[in-house]
């Protein structure tokens, strides 16, 4: 019945409201009148003199007819309420006054009907003082005028008596009318407050970032969500309204079952036990946890934080205001800060490592990494058949492994670790049955991480070089000469990590005729050989002592030009090749067939080591086990048109004699 009225001044608003209310009541008065007036015909029939009955009946029917028409008008329009009121007053008043006149004027007791009119019109409709008095006086006035105009003889006491009653009724009716007007005003103000409050509530509920709603306990294990909730609820949980639903049921799609059972216990506690705010807060099972929110296309993972705030409702029942916050961003930020801390730690570690290295080594390292990364990028962009894809994977693998070796050489732990992770991914790809081009692209993002670390590293190196004020030409000359020193450090680090004792002895190092740019290749070969020696060949100190050797193993190195070639003589005094292990591994990997195992002699097995992907290390570690080291050595030497020979004696030593044409090294 009452419409929401917005943006209309309050006073004007009230007059519209008042008019509407008066109109509603006038309809009732009108209806009462046109039903009651004809029913009095029955009374007339009993008490009236016969000659008057017909006349009164006509009065009543005519008046009722007019009132019906008025009722129709009242239904159509709510304007002119006060005129309508006055009209009823005059119409019914005149009719009754005329009747009293016929029945003996002021002496007649029929004036009582006027009281009814007064009560109906003035009491039922909230006019207030002024209009109430106007109506009441109109009725009394009509009564007086009609009976004076056609004056019958009367007793003055009767007139006084009648007037006494009429005025008393008028007083009561007007007072009630005034009070009703005041009440209406209050009712209106209260409604306005409610509307404004509701609007404010809606605004708050639609604009807060928190999901808010109230939960009440319906039965022992039933907790029901209230009718009001903030807009954010649907945004956070990605559902339509939860109003009227069970709280546990509403949350069950988002959390594991264990959480929901814990929540049920918790709800039972907060609703049925005497708990204080600390307890409610401390035992909250939904304080920051992961939720799977189904959105339009996918399941989104959010971190949600629920809070339970106790509220006492007017009814005295306990209920809780639940607030839900999406704290994914905050949590992500926390994690990112943590990551940044770790990153900063890595950077400082790398910085320290760089500071310990000579500029030549660094220069050379940067150059090498750049070459390897561009090799990897080239390999990734191959768009050919499966066979070439697996070649590409091998190339990437070799490049990554080589970079890792060099990073380890310079003690750039973080970079080496990242490359180790990268290798792990490539191994996964290599081992997958069906390799497709798209698979290669998946490692692009991993390569990006490597590149990012490398860029940081490069920046650090550049800064340090600028700080140290070294010139590039100066660094070029020493790149080769720094190899033995760097290898010694590498040997020191790896042997400590693997619990071995090893020393490197560089006997002859003559790089005459070699350009600085060849340092990278030579070092790469030596790094792989060294790692291989320490991991596979050289024994633990106790084992060495047992077999009568010095507890410290040694690697002896001779490098010098020999005619047209550059010669590398590499020797370790370890236990040499473990052919039993190689055979076993060969069988496991399917490279050796069970039926042909007899035919595999030591020489044949040795060749197997130089196959890509073959390693006998127990498990893959940072330093060995990937099965790529010996393969790199072979590939590098072959690529340079060089050659190598292996000499070994079981339990005593392994020796590599490598020759590379100097001409080729000069062209690199």
């Amino acid at each position: 019945m009452r419409k929401k009225r917005k943006n209309i001044p309050k006073s004007e608003n009230f007059s519209v409201y008042l008019n509407k209310t008066r109109n509603d009541w006038l309809k009732i008065v009108s209806m009462l009148s046109f039903t009651l007036i004809p029913t009095f015909i029955v009374l007339d029939y009993i008490v009236m003199p016969d000659e008057l009955f017909a006349k009164f009946m006509i009065f009543r029917l005519v008046v009722s007819g007019i009132l019906i028409i008025q009722y129709i008008i009242l239904r159509m329009s709510s304007r002119y309420a006060s005129l309508h009121g006055l009209f009823i007053t005059i119409l019914a008043g005149t009719m009754i006054a005329l009747m009293t006149n016929d029945l003996g004027g002021f002496d007649s007791g029929y004036y009582a009907g006027l009281n009814l009119v007064m009560m109906a019109v003035v009491i039922l409709v909230p006019w207030g003082f002024a209009h109430g008095i106007l109506n009441a006086l109109t009725i009394i006035g009509i009564y007086a005028i009609v009976n004076v105009l056609n004056l019958h003889s009367f007793q003055i006491e009767n007139l006084i008596n009648n007037m006494y009653f009429l005025f008393s009724t008028a007083l009561i009716a007007v007072s009630v009318s005034q009070i009703r007007l005041q009440l209406l005003r209050k009712e209106f103000d209260a409604n306005i407050h409610l509307i404004i409050a509701k609007e404010e509530q809606d605004t708050i509920m639609n604009s807060v970032d928190e999901g808010l709603f109230i939960v009440q306990q319906e039965k022992e294990d039933e907790y029901v969500i209230g009718s009001q909730q903030s807009e954010a609820v649907t945004q956070i949980l990605g559902t339509s309204s939860l109003a009227g639903k069970g709280f546990l049921e509403a949350l069950s799609p988002y959390f594991p079952e264990k959480i929901i059972t814990d929540l049920a216990e918790y709800l039972f506690m907060i609703f049925n036990r005497d708990v204080d705010n600390d307890l409610i807060r401390d035992l909250n099972p939904l304080e920051k946890l992961e939720a799977d929110i189904p959105s339009e296309l996918e399941i989104e993972n959010k971190m949600l934080k629920f809070e339970f705030k106790p509220i006492r409702q007017m009814s005295g029942e306990k209920s809780y205001l639940i607030s839900i916050k999406d704290v994914s961003k905050e949590v992500e930020m926390e994690n990112r800060m943590l990551n940044n801390e770790i990153k900063a730690e890595h950077e400082s570690q790398m910085m320290l490592a760089i500071l310990q290295q000579g500029p030549a080594m660094l220069q050379d390292f940067v150059h090498g990494v750049e070459t390897e990364i561009s090799d990897i990028e080239k390999a990734i962009s191959t768009d050919n058949n499966t066979e070439e894809l697996s070649d590409a994977i091998e190339t990437i693998f070799r490049a990554a492994h080589s970079m890792k070796g060099n990073a380890a050489l310079l003690n750039l732990k973080f970079f080496a670790e990242q490359l180790d992770v990268f290798e792990e991914k490539i191994i996964e790809l290599r081992d997958s049955d069906k390799l497709v081009r798209e698979d290669l692209q998946t490692i692009e993002s991993d390569l990006d991480i490597i590149k990012e670390v490398y860029t940081t590293l490069q920046g650090l190196i550049k800064n340090i070089q600028e700080f140290q004020g070294k010139k590039e030409t100066e660094t070029q000359e020493t790149a080769l000469e720094s190899i033995p020193g760097a290898l010694t450090e590498l040997v020191g680090r790896i042997s400590v990590e693997l619990g071995k004792k090893v020393r490197l002895i560089a006997e002859k190092t003559d790089f005459t005729g070699l350009p600085a740019s060849s340092a990278y290749i030579i070092r790469d070969i030596l790094v792989q050989l060294t790692r291989n020696s320490i991991t596979h060949g050289l024994e633990e100190p106790e084992a060495r002592v047992k077999s009568g050797k010095d507890e410290t193993g040694s690697i002896t190195l001779n490098m010098q030009p020999d005619g047209d070639s550059f010669m590398i003589d590499y020797r370790d005094d370890g236990k040499s090749f473990d052919f039993a292990a190689i055979r076993k591994k060969g069988l496991e990997s399917g490279k050796i067939l069970e039926s042909e195992v007899e035919q595999w002699n030591d020489t044949k097995l040795l060749k197997l080591i130089f196959d890509s992907g073959f390693s006998t290390a127990g498990e893959s570690t940072m330093h060995a086990g990937r099965g790529v080291g010996m393969d790199i050595v072979k590939q590098r030497i072959k690529n340079m048109g060089g050659d190598f020979k292996i000499k070994y004696r079981q339990g005593e030593y392994t020796e590599f004699k490598i020759t590379i044409p100097i001409k080729v090294l000069q062209e690199v």
Binding site: E265, Y266, F268, M269, L279, D282, L283, G316
Partner: protein, 137 residues
């Protein structure tokens, strides 16, 4: 108030005993596991028990249930690790008076005991009537 301390760690028992010296309450019994706790409980019928949740023989929840069967108005304070929120909730639902997080601190324990005493006093006579009246109004 008669107090009983149940914990499998001697250190915790000693620490709580030392804290309780401040409140001057009488410690009537100690127990190191659930089974022993129930026996001592029957014997002494203490008003307040500090009960470790994780114990050998019988866990804290079971012991709690038995104790409340024997003496329903006993106040039982659960002592728990921070990680076992769900067990604490269960204990409170079963009728535990509250809980304390390990390592227990003196003021924590003393505050809880004070609150329990007040609640016990409020449970009788005029105070209860006044509380009802307050709630009704």
């Amino acid at each position: 108030m008669k107090i009983m301390i149940v914990d499998d760690s001697t250190i915790v028992r000693t620490v709580i005993k030392r804290y309780l010296a401040i409140t001057k309450d009488e410690i009537v019994a100690y127990a190191a596991n659930g089974v022993e706790a129930i026996e001592r409980f029957k014997e002494h019928l203490p008003d307040l028990v500090t009960l470790d949740i994780t114990m050998p023989e019988m866990n804290g929840l079971e012991a709690l249930e038995r104790m409340l069967e024997i003496k329903p108005d006993a106040s039982i304070l659960m002592i728990s690790a921070l990680s076992s929120k769900d067990t604490v909730v269960k204990a409170i639902n079963m009728g535990a008076a509250g809980y304390l997080v390990k390592p227990v601190e003196a003021h924590q324990l003393i505050d809880k005991i004070k609150a329990i005493k007040e609640a016990a006093n409020e449970g009788s006579g005029f105070k209860r009537i006044f509380r009802w009246r307050r709630q009704l109004l």
